[in-house]
């Protein structure tokens, strides 16, 4: 009993802290708060849209209550395996229920550990929720289980993922943005500065190497998914900058992996990874933090999830962050909304009351004063154009700012959907081939040939353009 009381008090204290961290107060929600004044830019992948006024909750509440002709109940499921997700979702839902008299959102406990299976089970027993956190979006879109989101919701986000031009999910957070996390103390000591161009970045690496104090870069090449961070950077620079639908064109047969842009991808990676530490091929991702905090390497290229790991490993470590510019001078980052996010069921959307209520709930969820609770709790990069004010570390704020000002935000190539979805495990084959190239056991031409062979085999059983393997 005592334990319950203590844990209850701690939960209340935690949420109070989180809420106080969010910049907007109750008055904000009435419309007096800073509106969408963040200079967020729309990315290339999403047509520009005016950021809606940030705080229209009250007006929306009135409008939604007007639309709902009778008291409406919505079931809502999310992956509640994470305490942070659970707390923030409960807070927002409680606030919504308090705000909207005629609408009641009921949270049904999800199963965070096996969420996909949980949703499938709910569907199969006829308990598919009205609103849900959707992860296997492509599967449920193909099954006709999700309702399209209206434009006024889609326009709330920096980027969304569309299926045949239709968006079904409101991304809960921006994709994990990769960038260089560096030893700021060392940089200051040696007079190294954050590079503004790609050439400056290579010069910086060379400078650190010449100084001889530590490796310029630490790379966790033993975990091939870690190689994906670097691969996608170069792929984004060389391939997607030329052709955003390269994968689709490969399915169509109009492009192949012997394309010059793919060869340039390998070349760019050869140029960069010559600065990796000795033994990078057998270094696991779990060890790269150790390299950074122990002055064995000056920089790592990874996502924002590393911030907390670095802080835990050495609370006194002073880190900096910068995005690695592309050779053409643009800044292309992993970020924006992916295919997963909040979705409305197609069945619920057939009921006008439920549809209106569900849309009102999603708008309410992403209003900056509410969405900040979620982002703050989960250290998530906001996916909305109107950025919530977050009480985050300066380095994390730099990432948020970078995603707002980047020339291009996109999800990792292996999370793309529709005609650009990769055949199963092609990603891993590519990364392994990349390691061969970087180790010098295979030349670039031969690597490209191998990719083509594997692609052709994979395409026989999976081709979203022709529909093979999609059913």
């Amino acid at each position: 009993m005592k334990k319950k009381l203590v844990s209850g008090m701690m939960a209340v204290a935690m949420m109070t802290t989180l809420l106080s961290g969010c910049g907007n107060s109750k008055t904000d929600s009435t419309g007096d708060a800073p509106a969408a004044d963040t200079s967020a830019q729309k990315t290339e992948s999403q047509p520009a849209a005016e950021a809606p006024a940030a705080n229209e909750s009250t007006a929306e509440a009135d409008a939604a209550d007007a639309i709902v002709t009778e008291p409406t109940e919505l079931t809502f499921i999310f992956a509640d395996g994470d305490d942070g997700a659970k707390q923030s979702m409960n807070t927002i839902v409680d606030k919504f229920n308090d705000t909207y008299e005629n609408i009641t959102v009921t949270i049904e406990p999800g199963n965070g550990g096996a969420y996909s299976e949980f949703i499938k089970t709910k569907d199969s027993v006829g308990e598919f929720p009205d609103v849900m956190e959707m992860r296997d979006t492509a599967v449920y879109v193909r099954a006709g289980k999700l309702a399209p989101l209206p434009d006024d919701i889609v326009s709330l986000f920096k980027t969304t993922t569309a299926f045949d031009g239709v968006t079904y999910t409101a991304p809960l957070a921006g994709e994990n943005t990769n960038g260089i996390i560096y030893n700021k103390t060392y940089f200051d000591e040696k007079g190294f500065e954050e590079p503004k161009t790609y050439d400056e970045f290579l010069t910086l690496c060379q400078g650190i190497q010449d100084a001889g104090d530590m490796s310029p870069l630490v790379v966790g090449g033993q975990d091939i998914w870690h190689m994906g961070f670097w691969f996608y950077k170069a792929y984004n620079d060389q391939v997607l900058s030329q052709d955003e639908d390269f994968i689709k064109h490969c399915y169509e047969g109009t492009k192949t992996f012997t394309d010059d842009s793919i060869k340039n991808t390998f070349t760019e990676l050869q140029d960069i990874l010559q600065y990796a530490q000795d033994g990078w091929v057998s270094t696991p991702d779990a060890q790269i933090t150790t390299f950074l905090v122990n002055d064995m390497a000056a920089m790592m290229y990874s996502g924002t999830h590393m911030f907390s790991q670095i802080e835990q490993a050495d609370p006194d470590f002073e880190m900096g962050w910068f995005a690695v510019p592309s050779p053409d001078g643009k800044t292309r980052l992993v970020g924006g909304g992916g295919a997963s996010g909040l979705a409305i069921s197609a069945e619920a959307a057939q009921d006008p009351n439920k549809k209106a209520a569900a849309e009102a709930f999603i708008k309410f969820f992403y209003a900056p004063e509410n969405y900040c609770v979620y982002c703050q709790t989960l250290s998530a990069i906001p996916s909305t154009v109107a950025e919530p004010q977050l009480d985050v570390s300066s380095v994390f704020q730099e990432v948020i700012d970078a995603t707002a000002s980047a020339d291009k935000l996109s999800p990792m190539w292996n999370t793309m959907t529709g005609d650009n979805e990769l055949p199963p495990d092609f990603r891993n084959f590519t990364y392994k081939t990349l390691i061969e190239v970087l180790q010098g056991t295979r030349d670039i031409d031969s690597a490209c040939e191998e990719l083509v062979k594997t692609w052709n085999v994979g395409m026989e059983s999976f081709n979203p353009v022709t529909g093979v393997g999609i059913e």
């Binding site: 090449g221 033993q222 091939i224 530490q277 000795d278 033994g279 990078w280 091929v281 057998s282 270094t283 060890q287 150790t290 390299f291 064995m296 055949p423 199963p424 495990d425 092609f426 891993n428 084959f429 392994k432 081939t433 390691i435 061969e436 180790q439 056991t441 295979r442 191998e450 062979k453 085999v457 994979g458 026989e460 059983s461 999976f462 393997g469 059913e471």
Partner: protein, 294 residues
């Protein structure tokens, strides 16, 4: 008394459970896998498309299969020979020590009890370039330049995996050699000693022929174990760097279960089955001819 022909009900009742289990889980999957090797089945979809010999054609033209086959042969030959030499040496040590026989036997056998996954993790940590045991020792004794990326250097990876397999497997074969050594007649050895044979001559002309049965068993087992190595590769290298340490079994797993190409994976499995049969038959023929009947 007339002997009853056929099987009675009691016999059938005893045989049935094992027969049904064996048929359902061994015979049927084995036979059906032959069929699946002629399809492009992805392992999940209910649609199974017959593609004739395409998978086998790909096997014979695929550089990845060739690389996996080469790795499998190198690893199998390497560990079959080294494991047996090591096991025999250990058995001779245990057989000849005067004190602590049991302690030695237990110590040498201990690695056999460690699971393949766990041993892979332990050795992976020891092989680590920056923080591993070997490189740390080399650094501490002033041989920093001799440090190696044991699992990252493509010319060392297979050897390093092989050493782990030998470390783990030698104790098992040692027990078989030990049992065989202890059955060698002391009369023969004493007679040879009286006739002036040296220790090496006695070992070569009496002990080795007398334990040739153990050689046959151990080489057969180590050959089969070498051909189906999986755990250590999975944990230590994931078949890498690149595809450097990918063996046939690992290729089968990767393409069949990770790349959604169950048909091709099954074809690799069928090829592996043939390779095991051929190698084992040759080995049995060679080793059996050298066995001495008591």
């Amino acid at each position: 008394m007339k002997q009853k022909k056929g099987l009675d009900k009691v016999t059938i009742a005893f045989i049935a459970p094992a027969f049904i289990f064996f048929t359902l889980f061994i015979i049927v999957p084995t036979i059906s896998s032959v069929y699946y090797s002629f399809t492009s089945w992805d392992g999940i979809s209910p649609n199974v498309k017959f593609i004739g010999l395409a998978n086998y054609k790909e096997i014979f033209t695929s550089a990845r299969f060739g690389n996996a086959l080469k790795n499998t042969v190198i690893l199998t030959v390497f560990i079959s020979i080294c494991e047996n030499v090591m096991a025999l040496v250990l058995a001779l040590i245990v057989d000849n020590v005067r004190w602590g026989k049991n302690a030695f036997r237990s110590a040498f056998y201990l690695p056999v009890l460690v699971s393949g996954i766990v041993s892979g993790f332990i050795w992976k940590i020891m092989y680590n370039y920056n923080f591993g045991t070997f490189n740390t020792i080399l650094k501490n004794i002033g041989l920093e330049d001799a440090r190696q990326d044991w699992l990252g250097n493509t010319s060392l990876t297979l050897i390093m995996i092989g050493l782990v397999l030998i470390w783990k497997g030698a104790g098992y074969y040692m027990i078989i050699y030990l049992a065989s050594l202890q059955s060698v007649s002391t009369d023969l050895l004493e007679a040879a000693q009286i006739d002036g044979a040296t220790a090496i001559q006695r070992f070569r002309h009496i002990t080795i022929p007398m334990i040739s049965g153990a050689f046959t068993i151990n080489f057969t087992l180590s050959l089969i174990n070498g051909l189906k190595v999986f755990d250590q590769i999975n944990v230590m290298t994931d078949g890498g760097p690149g595809f450097t340490s990918e063996t046939l079994v690992y290729l089968l797993y990767k393409v069949g279960f990770n790349e959604g190409r169950q048909g091709f994976g099954t074809a690799v499995g069928i090829m592996l089955l043939f390779i095991i049969i051929i190698l084992n038959t040759l080995q049995q023929k060679f080793l059996r001819s050298r066995e001495v009947q008591m």
